[in-house]
């Protein structure tokens, strides 16, 4: 049954992803790319269990490396996106 639920979740998320992303205007495509990239670092959640579990040395080493790599992706991705978006400004006081 798990498989059934997971495939439901998969399919719904894919459709939802398409609907959401299609609405993003061209202006924001670069930040979208880097923001989505940051989200793909979610694999960090999976890595945590490997790095902190009571597995073999290999498991822990792999897990720790995975944590490090995924964290770079997450932290770097969100920060760089934020830096980009901070620059987007609307015309306000100027006129």
């Amino acid at each position: 049954m798990d498989l059934v639920y997971l495939s439901f979740i998969l399919i719904l998320s894919i459709f939802l992803g398409f609907e959401l992303i299609q609405k993003v205007p061209a202006t924001l495509h670069t930040p979208l790319m880097s923001g989505a990239n940051a989200i793909s670092g979610i694999t960090l959640v999976g890595a945590l269990i490997g790095a902190g579990g009571q597995g073999s040395t290999l498991t822990v080493v792999l897990g720790t490396m995975a944590v490090a790599f995924a964290t770079i992706n997450v932290v770097g991705g969100y920060l760089v996106t934020d830096r980009m978006l901070a620059m987007f400004k609307k015309k306000t006081t100027e006129k």
Binding site: D2, L6, I9, L10, S13, L16, G17, F18, L20, I21, K23, V24, P25, A26, T27, L28, H29, P31, M33, S34, G35, A36, N37, A38, I39, S40, G41, I42, T43, G46, A47, L48, I49, G50, A51, G52, G53, Q54, G55, L62, T64, A66, V67, A68, F69, T71, I72, N73, V74, V75, G76, G77, Y78, D82, M84, M87, F88, K89, K90, K91
Partner: protein, 454 residues
């Protein structure tokens, strides 16, 4: 409530935060908040995961997180806005290898059904391809590797064989999980596959590849999610997968090419670009251009890749303000694939504090183009090439462009008569109303600004 329950309900909340984050990313006014919301979702997902009873030792986690945070924060702080594509590529590769490793670690789980083994193999395959592919893309973009397509005889055959080998290895892996050979082979083969698929692609096509690889890294996370039975990996991974595919598609459409063409053709710069172009090229000095601009009532600025190369965005903004003070209306016309990333120009102009409501999209500006006194084309070429509209034989025929040639006068700021990304001659330069102002865009604009202040 059990811990598992708590964790999973928090994952639901995290998923909602990701969804809202992407929703808010849909408008410039809320995009920054959207990114923060999405980051919050990530934080929540990570923090509650730490409560998992399977985690007994936090030292290694701490180590990994510290290293990752330091490197990530450092890189994000230091990267130049123009180096954004290669930075995204690199981060993306890291996400890929992390998924590969998560898949690998998942092998240590007690009960492994064939389905789980399959998803483990998929996270290794997709993760590995994402990793090495992204590294090659990064190398090409940062010019650490040669940017030109690396082609050799029988390349497709080799790649086809490689793909088959990967699948065969996957089958063996699922059937004989106890033999580690297949695992190692899967890691090796997927890494090689990533390299081999990206090297035949030219440096300029890298943005498409990066977007595609971004989609892959989402799918890798998805596969890892199935392998360790984790909802949030599946939800977040699919969202990323969808995003990458949509952006890839947008880029391909705007270049008037198929994804297959991008992936497999090493972009043959088309020489048979139908017929010689009639007309003469008229050059103009920045000084003479000044007089025209001085008298102009309305100006549209059309930036392209050359503006990014010249780093001219700040001086563009200066010119805009001077023109506005002079009583002239200035707006920007942005082509969706001007530059080398979708939305590239928007980011650069945002960096120079140009308010985004001055930036018009192609469809909004084209109907009004006739009304403008001057169109200033700054380092753009393909995106204003009228051949796309007029010359059925041209390889870019049918690609939507900004009709700069419809403005009363067109200034083209570039260094030479050289062609742009698509390697095509541009009939615009030969039009009666076009004036070429040769030179580096930043310098030319600087000279114009100085003329005004004198």
């Amino acid at each position: 409530m059990s811990t598992t329950m708590l964790i999973n309900l928090s994952y639901t909340v995290a998923a909602v935060l990701f969804i809202f984050g992407l929703k808010y990313l849909g408008s410039p006014a809320t995009a920054r908040r959207g990114n923060a919301i999405s980051a919050l979702g990530m934080l929540l997902a990570v923090v509650v995961t730490l409560l998992d009873q399977a985690i007994i030792d936090y030292r290694w986690i701490l180590l990994g997180v510290l290293i990752g945070t330091a490197v990530g924060a450092f890189a994000a702080r230091l990267v130049a806005m123009t180096a954004m594509p290669e930075m995204v590529a690199l981060f993306n590769g890291f996400g890929g290898i992390a998924s590969l490793m998560v898949g690998w670690v998942a092998l240590a789980q007690p009960r492994l059904s064939s389905f789980i083994l399959l998803t483990i193999f998929l996270s290794i395959l997709i993760g590995g391809v994402t990793f090495t592919g992204s590294l090659v893309a990064w190398g090409k973009l940062s010019e650490k590797l040669p940017g030109r397509p690396i082609l050799f005889h029988g390349q497709r055959l080799v790649n086809g064989a490689l793909l088959l080998a990967n699948f065969a290895c996957g089958a063996m892996f699922v059937l004989h999980p106890e033999q580690h050979l297949w695992l190692y082979l899967a890691v090796a083969l997927s890494s090689i596959l990533g390299v081999m698929t990206v090297i035949p692609i030219g440096g300029a096509d890298m943005p498409v590849i990066i977007s595609l690889l971004n989609s892959y890294s989402g799918l890798a996370a998805c596969a890892a999610g199935f392998a360790i039975n984790n909802n949030i990996l599946i939800v977040a991974g699919s969202l990323v997968g969808a995003s990458g595919i949509i952006l890839t598609n947008i880029m391909c459409k705007a270049m008037n090419r198929t994804l297959g063409n991008v992936l497999f053709s090493g972009f043959g710069a088309v020489d048979e670009a139908g017929g010689k172009i009639e007309g003469e090229v008229t050059a103009l000095s920045a000084e003479d251009a000044y007089y025209v601009l001085e008298a102009a009532q309305s100006v549209v600025v059309i930036p392209g890749y050359g503006m990014a190369v010249a780093q001219a965005q700040h001086v563009v903004k200066e010119l805009q303000q001077i023109l506005e003070k002079n009583g002239c209306e200035v707006i920007y016309a942005i082509h969706p694939v001007a530059g080398r990333m979708p939305g590239h120009m928007n980011v650069l102009l945002a960096e120079a504090d140009v308010p985004y409501d001055l930036l018009l999209e192609m469809d909004d500006i084209n109907p009004r183009m006739e009304a403008f006194d001057v169109a200033i084309v700054i380092g753009a070429n393909d995106v204003v090439n009228p051949a796309a509209r007029e010359t059925p034989g041209s390889p870019i025929y049918g690609m939507p462009i900004i009709n700069a040639d419809y403005a009363r006068t067109v200034f083209v700021l570039k260094r030479s008569m050289a062609s742009g990304f698509a390697g095509l001659d541009n009939p615009l330069f030969y039009r009666k109303n076009a004036r070429m102002i040769f030179g580096d865009a930043k310098e030319t604009l600087g000279r114009l600004v100085r003329e005004f202040s004198n």
